[in-house]
Symmetry: C2
Subunit: 298 residues, 2 copies
């Protein structure tokens, strides 16, 4: 079908839904790579910088996806993703054969499987492609993209994926990208909570936390959380690279998926409890390094 075959391998018609911190950087890369992007997001103001760069506006996910070769989404909460794809003005009701869906958000693995089944039933296809790397990774196109889907679907998604990320690994069938992302988020949560608990101890123990980082940043205690987020904590910078509410969502997905598998994840339970307490304390829109405030303000 003409509307689903690219005019050239270099230029794709892309429908995109969502313009958060990560999504905005990602759409920017696609525009600069010469793709056309039709964009929908709940808050139009967030889209303006991308419209100024050449994206066109769509009033709904359905409109963004009409005629697109590839329909991408990067939206926040499960209810929103559900609405984007399965809502009355969503992507699925008007999905055409040959179209390809790519969900960059972090959704339950069961959702990814359901979306892939629904797409295949319409002669289309779907890939789950959650990302890691934070705001920096999105800005520099160095994201790690964890991909689930059929070989054919993943091959078709590659021109988009390779524009946005550096480490792109096909992990298995639909849902496998999401399950890999769960692994990633368990690590992120443990490393970040550990970093904040450790920095808090350093501070209360009368140490110079900056000098402590010189000691612990390069050895067996090293992590991305220590190297990237700890300096933000020391500057009192709790702005989001990745927001607390989204980590809470991801950890709930982790717990729920683990429960389906009959597994206990005690560290996930603790991290979730701490981050939920952080939301309760009014810090849900801060960056994940904000869990330091739970210790500081106790």
């Amino acid at each position: 079908m003409s509307q689903t075959s690219p005019a050239s391998p270099e230029s794709l018609r892309i429908g995109w839904i969502g313009a958060g911190i990560m999504g905005s950087s990602m759409v920017g890369h696609l525009l600069r790579a010469g793709h056309s992007v039709r964009l929908h997001t709940r808050t139009r103001a967030k889209a303006e910088p991308l419209l100024a760069m050449g994206a066109t506006w769509a009033d709904s996910p359905a409109e963004a996806s009409a005629g697109a070769h590839v329909v991408c989404s990067n939206v926040g909460l499960p209810a929103e993703v559900e609405e984007v794809y399965f809502g009355a003005n969503g992507v699925l009701p008007r999905l055409q054969p040959g179209q390809l869906l790519v969900d960059f958000g972090t959704s339950p693995p069961s959702f990814a499987r359901r979306l892939a089944d629904a797409a295949v039933a319409k002669g289309a296809d779907s890939v789950d492609a959650p990302v890691s790397g934070g705001d920096i990774g999105a800005r520099n196109a160095t994201l790690s993209i964890m991909v689930g889907g059929s070989d054919a679907a993943v091959a078709r998604a590659m021109p988009v994926l390779s524009t946005l990320g550096k480490t792109i690994v096909h992990q298995g069938p639909a849902g496998s990208g999401q399950r890999t992302k769960i692994v990633n988020q368990i690590l992120v949560a443990a490393n970040t909570l550990g970093m904040c608990e450790a920095l808090h101890f350093a501070s209360r123990a009368g140490l110079d936390p900056q000098r402590v980082l010189d000691s612990v940043g390069g050895g067996a205690a090293a992590s991305w959380s220590i190297q990237v987020l700890a300096p933000r904590v020391l500057k009192g910078d709790f702005d989001p690279g990745f927001i607390v509410e989204h980590l809470v969502k991801d950890l709930r997905i982790a717990r729920s998926d683990a429960k389906e598998l009959g597994e206990l994840l005690p560290l996930v339970d603790l991290c979730l409890a701490r981050y939920e307490a952080l939301v309760d304390a009014g810090h849900g829109r801060k960056g994940t390094q904000g869990v330091y405030l739970l210790y500081r303000d106790r």
Copy 2:
């Protein structure tokens, strides 16, 4: 005093107590750097390779330290360290003015302060210098050494420290090295428990854990635990770089020191409970990555 002034800045008479995984590598570096080392360790068999390299044997900590410019220790449990320094055949009873003590082990900060006070009272001095970097760091002399003590004592210790480590940071007065090490161990425990919980989830979720590492090893989830210890877990290699019993000891020190400061460390509490359960399961002499077995064998 002649027995405490080096013949040349390059060659020191060093007394050394302890020959565990880390200590053995460290003594090897000192011997190769041209220092003379008089060695005592509880199990003489562990000292044999170092005696073959030129170290001389001492029957007690007191004998190892007699005439030494610098007396170093790297032994395991608090009761052993207590005995090494304050026991009847320990270092302190016969400590001479001008001698310098360097404790490379991880001991309570309060012990480091008590040892420094006792040394100073005899005209000697003491430095707490716990290390991080594991077996690899000790072998390659790339350890991070976290140093507490007076400026003068730390300056005198530098020829020894710089032979053994790469990142050497003076953190503050006596005990500050130990408190920095607590920070380090909070991070190590959180990162390692997180790595094992995440790998276990990956395995039970039907993913290929090796391929998952390709996705999560280089981004926001990255850590030394993921990069160095996770591959060991996937090979079924639970041999110690750093043994579980020592991490349990260190986390108990962390909890106890935090309690003195009136602080709660919930992540430390969870890590300690998991690692204590691992000891109860008979895995106390395995490497810290062995906490994976608690999940696998549940």
